[in-house]
Amino acid sequence: MKITVESSFFHILLHACLPILIMFIGTSCQSDVVDDTATKIVGTWHQTSLTKDGVNAVKDSTRLLMQIDATNICVLCDSSAASVKAKTIVKRSGWSYTGGLFNLAIDLPASWKPITDANSLVIERVDFNQAGSISKTTLRFERVSNIDFK
């Protein structure tokens, strides 16, 4: 077979491009979805409603106000009778966002599924009830101005 300039160039090109081609196809298997929920939930939130299995219920007095800050600290304003009496209204906890779930240290092992936009935050958790059925609790919040806790 006669080796021409053209065929030599083809061979060089082929060998040079092969690793690049493999890298391209290999990396194309990875997905590039960015979830910015952790940034969106940062802020101060006022509880507006609570529903249990879709039915309106009395608001959760342990977190009428919730301040989630960027350093993974969460401050809850607990207005329950016991906390008011004990003067422990301000409760601090840690938080994280993993696997699409909002984890509040004081609620673990239960975690919350958050849905948020600029001014509203909806968090939903599921728990087993005594009979073994799944019960859903949904808390709705609206964004309010930040508060300085001492």
């Binding site: 082929l14 493999i22 696997g99 984890n103 087993f128 799944i134």
Partner: protein
């Protein structure tokens, strides 16, 4: 030579594309609510009590796992604990690790007679009428030590609807643990205990059952748990 190169170029994408296919299970399929369907011990189905049959696992994407069973429901006047928790993680898409509560078998034997040491207490039935009984609460607390440990299961089957996992372990390791719903007859209610304190423990160890339980911790068996996915 040219033909060989052309063939190579044609086959290359096939090679590379096939490398994208997974030979391991996808972790995201694990997330959800699973209801226990069956348990086998060395291939023989275990007959589950009604309390065990109702067992469910709620596996969440953050690695937390919550269990439901009714093994201790009859405790505390019928409102005993039914919800338990631990963690889960998948390893190399082939194994699944669960952390659950387990109890270590640590009964004390008398050095001279190799008899189980039990605590006793006096009960005054009437003035001058006193009986001595075994203090079960104090005794079992000294015989069993609760800890939290990881068990690694092999995934035999995992799909959107079914999960089958296998664990090779000692009979006692499975029996006196929350993998996943224990048999109520292997546990006792602890009372009186303060509210919020765990009120269940493996049964009292006596001279009659000591060697049976000890043997259980030396007998290896293979357990296969089957679950089906539930919607919620």
């Amino acid at each position: 030579m040219k033909t060989v190169y052309r063939l190579f170029i044609l086959l290359l994408p096939l090679f590379v594309l096939s490398s994208c296919q997974k030979d391991a299970y996808d972790e995201s399929i694990m997330v959800g609510l699973w209801k226990q369907v069956s348990v086998t011990e060395d291939g023989i189905p275990i007959s589950l009590t009604p309390e065990q049959a109702n067992c469910q696992l709620l596996m969440e994407a953050n690695g937390a796992c919550r269990y439901y069973h009714q093994s201790f429901k009859s405790y505390n006047k019928g409102v005993g604990t039914t919800s338990f928790y631990g963690t889960w993680s998948m390893l190399d898409g082939k194994w699944i690790n669960f952390t659950t509560d387990k109890w270590q078998f640590i009964p004390i034997l008398s050095s001279d007679s190799m008899k189980i040491k039990l605590d006793h207490r006096e009960i005054i039935r009437a003035p001058g009428d006193t009986i001595i009984v075994i203090d079960t609460l104090t005794s079992v607390k000294k015989q069993w030590s609760k800890y939290h440990i990881q068990s690694r299961f092999t995934i035999l089957q995992l799909s959107d609807t079914e999960m089958e996992i296998r664990l090779k372990t000692f009979v006692g390791e499975k029996k006196y643990a929350l993998i996943f719903a224990p048999d109520p007859q292997d546990f006792v209610e602890l009372k009186p205990v303060a509210a919020g304190v765990m009120n269940y423990s493996p049964k009292l160890v006596t001279d009659q059952n000591y060697w049976i339980i000890r043997k259980e911790f030396q007998t290896l068996k293979t357990y296969i748990f089957k679950f089906k996915k539930e919607t919620y």
